[in-house]
Symmetry: C2
Amino acid sequence: MLYESLSSDKLNDLKKDLESEYNKIKAENLQLNMARGKPAPSQLKICFPLLDAVDSSSDLISEDGTDCSNYGNIDGIIEARRLMAGIMDTEAENVIVMGNSSLNIMFDQVSRGFTHGYLGNKPWSQLDKVKFLCPVPGYDRHFMVTEHFGVEMINVPMTPTGPDMDVVEKLVEQDEAIKGIWCVPKYSNPTGYVYSDETLKRLAALKPKAPDFRIFYDNAYCVHDLYDECRLPDILSLCKESGNPDMVFEFSSTSKISFPGGGIAAVAASEANLKDIKGHLKFQTIGHDKINQLSHARYFKDADGIREHMKKHAEFIRPKFEKVLEILSGELDGLGIGEWTDPKGGYFISFDSTLHCADRIYELCKEAGVTLTNVGATYPYGKDPDNSNLRIAPTFPTVEELDTATRLFALAVKLASVETLLK
Amino acid sequence: MLYESLSSDKLNDLKKDLESEYNKIKAENLQLNMARGKPAPSQLKICFPLLDAVDSSSDLISEDGTDCSNYGNIDGIIEARRLMAGIMDTEAENVIVMGNSSLNIMFDQVSRGFTHGYLGNKPWSQLDKVKFLCPVPGYDRHFMVTEHFGVEMINVPMTPTGPDMDVVEKLVEQDEAIKGIWCVPKYSNPTGYVYSDETLKRLAALKPKAPDFRIFYDNAYCVHDLYDECRLPDILSLCKESGNPDMVFEFSSTSKISFPGGGIAAVAASEANLKDIKGHLKFQTIGHDKINQLSHARYFKDADGIREHMKKHAEFIRPKFEKVLEILSGELDGLGIGEWTDPKGGYFISFDSTLHCADRIYELCKEAGVTLTNVGATYPYGKDPDNSNLRIAPTFPTVEELDTATRLFALAVKLASVETLLK
């Protein structure tokens, strides 16, 4: 029963039924939110024992003798570096652990590109034009950083195996103004797609025209599996093997491992890049919060400790993803009005309106009390050229709330699609 | 017995005696450090109870309902803003609480000056020249930030009542390239001088040629009294009263209240400036570490709680300052070879070699195992044009170590001065 194959009369009848159903739900004055990519409060309770990892009876001396209660140490303490290296599948020597936010590290890296340049290259502020490649749909906060610095962002199609590498290769080889690409390699935001080994190899083997081109490799969901563990090859090693050791900055944090905004964040990069970063960092701060680094290292012990902990998070999140996917399938399969991803981890599900009426779906949901991420948020400048993509964040509401919200969402997809076909 | 009035013969005899004494101490292979402006480990123990302020049994909900265990809140939680406002003698509404480092906030403000500009003014990266006024001697890390961004730094003489305001007024009124002045108003680093009310009023009433001129007001030692409490008038109010509401950024942190590098830091500014700052901050981070903010707010309760706590710190630090000052007086009074400050708070004592042989004093100390802050560190570009200033940091060593180190220091001052007079 493809909607497109229905006659106008049938569509009008359908519209009446859908409107009647919609108005009934609207009258319930729902207040539900599927916009926020953050854990639910009940889920976060599993992290609370971390708050006891360091207390007034603790010694605050790190393994290498650093007194975490006092100034010093720009790299982060060794046990925290090893911990973060463990989840990024690299070595501690390639990692600096900083503050509470990987987004802040990324922002600062872009900012340094503009104010000082990388490894002796000209500061971007002195160039006429700076461009970044943006696989779409992607993470709104990445795009907001580059927009804030006046970067021209170029959409690159995202595929189930990662960015369309034919497009990426062609663009970076031709255009020296292209200085970076935003990547979320595992459970990409919002699709949940995982870059294939082939994609990663091609990324690492890029031959960019710009010597200061960098892959901004945001490994935000490196241990955020909902089912079997999935491990990506280490991008730093791949870049090194391809003769591009300095071409990647890898970022990660414990924001969705321990406390969002109360965790620790890290950057991994080549020796030359780390030296460059520290060359700036030493002017910016005397050091990051080593007590929180120590708490995390002592609580989780190692990356295996984190991986075990992540299984507990998965117990909370998995039923939520499954609920949303079950309802979407039950309500929309075979209608030809929507496509959606089936992520095995991460925090989002990506939905595409086949009839390009995402804005109307968003509006209908909003009017009935269900908040979605703004239409266009998954695209640079907040503009989805196809008016098709919607990001669903299933983690914050309860399963019961998700049930209601997703049914309303599916209804909104149907109604908006019928309206579109009748236009 | 002024050294300058001694004959060559007397000076030569004195030199021999001093050298003999110096060599004896040198043979002891001391390893002492008066370079580091940080608390001693024993002193920091008084802060350890803060580590119990939040534990796994705590609710992490702030007064305004913010869940500190999850994302959100770019301003800092209200109780932390009130706490920091309390020690800065301003209102919570004028304050944003951020991460662990006020230096980082200052760095970011300078960086934003370059990348985006303040309140709609042209980004400094588009100007031929950007200048900052630097009261000297001053804080090396301030000067390092502006040097890092290629700012031309202009030395302004520091007096016991603050920067020489005649010089400051004349310069800022004439030169639009002057975009800022670094200030540590209370217990200034390294002199320990406190700006007078008159100085603060004149600062607040400046009529800078540059509309985007800012006072970088680093209130690092706002509650760091060793004797009677000293309270400065609120600079934000003074600026407002003078018709310059947007002319000041005030910074502070708990780095020498709770844990250096493990505390919380804040900026206070006008409504327009805070809006401007948040306009950037929202791209930079999802929020700072609210759990640490909550720990601090719950442990200290309010600014009075902090002021009580600071009395405990003073108990540790006061005898150290007194020891250094006692030895300097006993050894050097009346010789005409050195002058030093007598701070009533803060972390440093400033020493000036009357005969301009600071580098030799530093060298003699170093060779005998006593490390001082690098000569020149208290001046922009690390260059003290008079070769006279040395910064003494008495807080980290024990009183016994300070006794030995300061005696060696005084001896080095004598020997270097005699050498200079004999040249």
